[in-house]
């Protein structure tokens, strides 16, 4: 099994190298004078609809994303627990089904609470 992860790791190295080559190729071509390079202040300014950008771009983001991330985290952890159960369901039998039902119910209470508190509404 470990050998399989070795294959994946080696493949990953090749893939990263491949994508780096794709990014670097135009730079090499630029030094060979094939790709043009004539920067000027207007061209290098940030795109905006005909105006110059005012203020900073890197501002604090909407707090609302945070709620989604929290609910997501809780449910995603639950789903990770569901995977091993799902593969072995036939061997584990009906008892495991009720155990998982209780586990899901606990998280579901939080989900319904979030729904009632209108966390899931996008404003």
């Amino acid at each position: 099994m470990l050998a399989n992860y070795g294959l994946i790791g080696l493949f990953f190295i090749i893939v990263v190298l491949f994508s780096l080559v794709m990014v670097v190729t135009p730079i090499v071509l630029r030094y060979l004078k094939i790709v043009p390079n004539n920067p000027n202040p207007i061209k290098n300014s940030i795109f905006e609809c005909g105006m110059e950008t005012t203020g900073k771009t890197w501002v604090q983001f909407n707090f609302h994303y945070y709620f989604y991330a929290l609910v997501f985290l809780a449910i995603d952890v639950l789903v990770v627990f569901l995977y091993p159960w799902a593969t072995q369901l036939r061997e584990l039998g009906l008892f495991s089904f009720f155990v998982v039902l209780i586990l899901v119910f606990i998280v579901l209470v939080g989900y319904i609470y979030a729904w009632k508190k209108k966390v899931l509404e996008w404003k």
Binding site: M1, L2, A3, N4, Y5, L7, I8, L10, F11, F12, V16, F18, S19, M22, V23, T25, P26, I27, L29, R30, I34, V35, P36, N37, P39, P41, K43, N44, S45, I46, F47, E48, T53, T57, W58, F61, N62, Y65, Y68, A69, V71, I75, D76, V79, L82, Y83, T87, Q88, L89, R90, L94, F97, V104, Y111, W115, K118, L120, E121, W122, K123
Partner: protein
């Protein structure tokens, strides 16, 4: 370094011709080359299908000048984009801006490492295959967010934020729909899942298929869920400031992701490489094209959703349905493991219809009152 002999002996080779195509290193070399070539050619083919198909659906021709039937158009585009000037904004975070395409592109290629093209013909038959796919496919979002953040453009940042929100929301229905398939197949390995499908799982999991398809389309930003690059609102979303080869890489990522989702849908629900007459790998590619064509069809049929509709659809419609589907599947697997398949199929389609109708009645935005 481990000796190659040891590696060869421990490697579970389930290939149809045994030990195909040779030892550990040959296997790796062969599949690395094949996978990268496969993804690049498929992206070109798929771009052609999308542009021509979309053109036909909108009563126009689409690109038809370059080569016979415009077949060389993707090649021409690739060459053109390679020779374009590379513009980086002065205010941009240069390092993040340059690294973003790499980080977005690498995970998408990594997905194909566990997708079987034939019985045992895959780079690595991980026993946690589908979990690996779920884990690795989310990493591309980091690249997208880096692109939006690094280009220091407000539209880009907004697009990237929306992308993260959408991916986070649609991750759960996607993953829960996968659990349904795992329940029926009893294995996480992609190869085993295909081997378990004497009948395609779309018949046993019709609701799971629909959820996976919708969530998958949202995950890879395809219209009608392409809020993050909505041209009318955000110019081009996260890749507004990209040009030349780096823009091409984002374009590549978009279509490679579409192919990846189509390949996973094929593997999980449509029986993978299985089929009569044609060779298995050809069946696999044909099914990918069919799924992709349905994606193009969806794109040309539905209008783009609003952002609150997008989020509500994931959290209030897809997620509860996916959970219900999961438990119904579990009960079926436990109580009628040996029931006649056709009865189960009819029951499942009936459940799907009833659930979707009922939940549509229940589904309201902002409890029926929309606060703007």
């Amino acid at each position: 370094m481990a000796t190659p002999d040891l590696l060869i002996r421990t490697l579970p080779m389930q290939a149809v011709p045994p030990d195909w195509p040779g030892g550990y290193w040959w296997h790796w070399l062969f599949f690395t080359v094949v996978l990268i070539a496969f993804v690049l050619t498929m992206v070109m083919a798929v771009i052609y299908v999308e542009r021509r198909g979309l053109g036909r659906m909108q009563s126009r021709l689409g690109p038809n000048r370059t080569g016979p039937f415009g077949l060389l158009q993707p090649v021409a585009d690739a060459v053109k984009v390679l020779l374009k000037e590379n513009i980086v904004p002065d205010k941009a975070d240069k390092l993040v801006h340059w690294l973003a395409p790499v980080i977005a592109f690498a995970p998408v290629l990594m997905i194909f490492a566990v997708v079987p093209f034939q019985n045992g013909a895959l780079l690595a038959d991980l026993n946690i295959g589908i979990l690996y796919v779920v884990a690795i496919s989310s990493v591309a979002t980091v690249g997208v967010f880096m692109a939006g953040w690094g280009s220091s453009n407000k539209y880009s940042l907004l697009g990237a934020m929306r992308n993260v929100a959408a991916v986070v929301s649609y991750e759960m229905p996607l993953v829960l729909a996968v659990v349904g398939v795992v329940l029926v197949a009893g294995s996480l390995s992609m190869n085993q899942i295909v081997l378990a499908q004497d009948l395609p799982f779309i018949l046993f999991q019709p609701l799971g298929f629909l959820i996976f398809f919708a969530a998958g389309c949202a995950e890879i930003n395809r219209s009608p869920f392409d809020l993050m690059e909505a041209d009318q609102e955000l110019v081009a979303g996260f890749h507004t400031e990209y040009s030349g080869m780096k823009f091409a890489m984002f374009y590549l990522v978009e279509y490679a992701e579409a192919i990846a989702i189509a390949a996973i849908i094929t593997t999980l629900f449509l029986g993978g490489w299985r089929g009569p007459l044609l060779p298995p790998w050809l069946w696999f590619i044909v099914k990918i094209f069919v799924v992709f064509f349905i994606m193009v069809w969806t794109r040309s049929t539905f209008p783009r959703v609003r952002i609150d509709q997008l989020m509500a659809f994931a959290w209030k419609f897809l997620f509860p349905l996916a959970l219900i589907n999961l438990f119904i599947t579990a009960i079926q697997v436990l109580i009628w493991p040996d029931a006649l398949p056709w009865i189960l199929i009819i029951v499942n389609f009936a459940i799907m219809g009833i659930l979707i109708l009922l939940w549509s009645k229940l589904f309201k935005l902002g409890w029926g009152r929309l606060e703007v």
